[in-house]
Symmetry: C2
Subunit: 247 residues, 2 copies
C-alpha cells in the first residue's frame, strides 16, 4: 500500500507526527503537497480535498492521509488507523485504547503549546497578539508545562514492562509523538526546558532512544525533515521563553 | 455491563457528550461523582484515579469511563469505545474512522468555544482575562464559528443517505454531540446564533431530531440533565456575544 500524506509543505506542524510514523516503519508514502504540481500533486492536490464540493467526506484541515480510496483526517485518528498497519501499535484492544488516549492527550498538549503564541486568533499575526502571548506563555510554563510532563513521565514510570516505552514492551506511535513534543519544546522554550528537564529522566531517555532508531536517525538527517521555524507550532520567541518563571 | 462515568458533578462540560450517548442507548451506568461519597463514590472516587500513584494507566483529566477493569479516558476515545457497544456507531471500519474524525473535529470546536472566555489561562478567573476574552470572542464569532458550522452543515449535505444524520443512514454518537454543540452555542452566543442559524437548516433540523428522541427527551426533562451555567464550557457572557460582528 502506498500512502499519500497531505500536509502543508513548509512546516513540521501536526503532519510531522504522521511523517515520523511512516518513516520509522519505512512505509511507502508520498508527501503530496511537497511534490510538483505539474505531476498532479503539490498544493493544488491538497486544496482540492479541502475546497471541492465533490468530496463526500472532506477533512476539516490537514493533515489527512489517503489510503487507497479511504481519506483519513485528524492527526490522532490517522495514527490510530496507521498504527496496526505499520506495526506501531499494540495488538490488544485495551492497549490500543490506552495508546490512543495518550495520543489525544499529546494533541491537547500540542494545542496549548501552539496557543502560547496565538492566544487570541489564528487569523492574526503573532505581532498583533504579542502582549496576550506573553501572559499566556508565562502561565503555560508556570502551570501547564510541568503538569503535562509530570503526567507523561508518570506513565513511563508506571509501565510495568520497564522497556522505557510509553505503552507495553515495544515502540509505538506514541513514543514517536513524545519524541516530537520534546524536540519541539526544547526548540521553543530552551530556557524553561533547561530548568525543568532534569526532573524528567524517562522522557529524556525516550527522546534519545527514538532519535537513535535507524530509520528515524536517517530521516532526521535527510532533507525530508523540515527545520523548526517561526511559522510552525513550536516557535522560538525569546520573549515568551523569558517571560517564564518556572516553579 | 454497568458503566461508571467519572466527571465533575456540577457541570455538563465534556462529560455531557458521554452522558448523552449513555442516555440515548438507555445504558446501565452510574454517574459516580454525583453519588454519595459515603457509598464509596462522589468526588473522592474521581480524585483517586487522578491522584493515586497506584493507578497504572491514569487519565489526564475527566471525563473517564470504567468498563469492567478497563478505564478509558479522553471524551472522543470514550465514544469510540462505547459507540459499537451502545449501537451508536456504524459497523464498517471506514465509517467508524469517519465518525471518529468528525468527533475529533467537534472536540477541536469545543476547545475553541471554551477558550473564548479563557484565552490566557484556565488557572485564572474569567474576570482576570476579560479584555483578552473580548478580543478572542470577537474573532471566534467572526472567523471561526461559521467555519465550523459551514463544515458540519456540508457534511450533512453531502451524506448520500439523506436521513439527516451525520454518518450513514442512522443515528450515531456524532449526532448527539452535534446536538450538544448547537444547544451550547445557543446558550452562550444567542445573538450571534440568531444572526447565522438560518443559514444552517440541516444542523437546526438535526438538533431538533435528537431533542425529540424518546430517551434524550426524557433525559433533558430529568434532574440528571444539569443546567447550563457560567462554570461550564458554554457561558452566557453578554459582553462576549455582543462584541461579535457577524459577517
Amino acid at each position: 500500500m502506498r500512502y499519500e500524506l497531505y500536509y502543508w509543505p513548509e512546516i513540521q506542524g501536526r503532519g510531522e507526527f504522521v511523517r515520523l510514523a511512516l518513516e520509522e516503519a519505512a512505509a511507502d508514502y508520498l508527501d503530496v503537497a511537497r511534490m510538483p504540481a505539474r505531476r498532479g500533486m503539490g498544493m493544488p492536490a491538497l486544496l482540492r480535498f479541502l475546497e471541492s464540493r465533490r468530496v463526500e467526506r472532506p477533512p476539516f484541515a490537514p493533515p489527512f492521509l489517503k489510503a487507497g480510496r479511504l481519506v483519513v483526517g485528524q492527526t490522532a485518528n490517522i495514527l490510530l488507523f496507521l498504527g496496526p498497519r505499520l506495526g506501531l501499535a499494540p495488538l490488544a484492544e485495551a492497549d490500543r485504547v490506552w495508546a490512543h488516549q495518550l495520543e489525544l492527550t499529546i494533541a491537547d498538549f500540542v494545542s496549548e503549546i501552539h496557543d502560547t503564541h496565538h492566544p487570541v486568533a489564528v487569523s492574526l499575526h503573532y505581532e498583533q497578539q504579542k502582549r496576550e502571548a506573553k501572559r499566556r506563555a508565562s502561565d503555560f510554563v508556570q502551570s501547564r508545562l510541568c503538569k503535562f510532563l509530570d503526567y507523561f513521565e508518570g506513565v513511563l514510570e508506571r509501565n510495568p514492562r520497564r522497556g522505557g516505552w510509553m505503552v507495553g514492551g515495544r515502540i509505538s506511535y506514541v513514543d514517536l509523538s513524545i519524541f516530537q513534543v520534546m524536540a519541539g519544546l526544547r526548540y521553543a522554550f530552551p530556557r524553561a526546558m533547561s530548568q525543568v528537564e532534569a526532573g524528567y529522566p524517562r522522557l529524556h531517555a525516550l527522546h534519545a532512544s527514538v532519535a537513535a532508531r535507524r530509520n528515524v536517525a536517517a530521516y532526521l538527517a535527510s532533507p525530508r525533515r523540515l527545520p523548526f521555524s517561526e511559522a510552525d507550532i513550536w516557535r522560538n520567541y525569546p520573549e515568551l521563553d523569558a517571560a517564564a518563571r518556572v516553579r
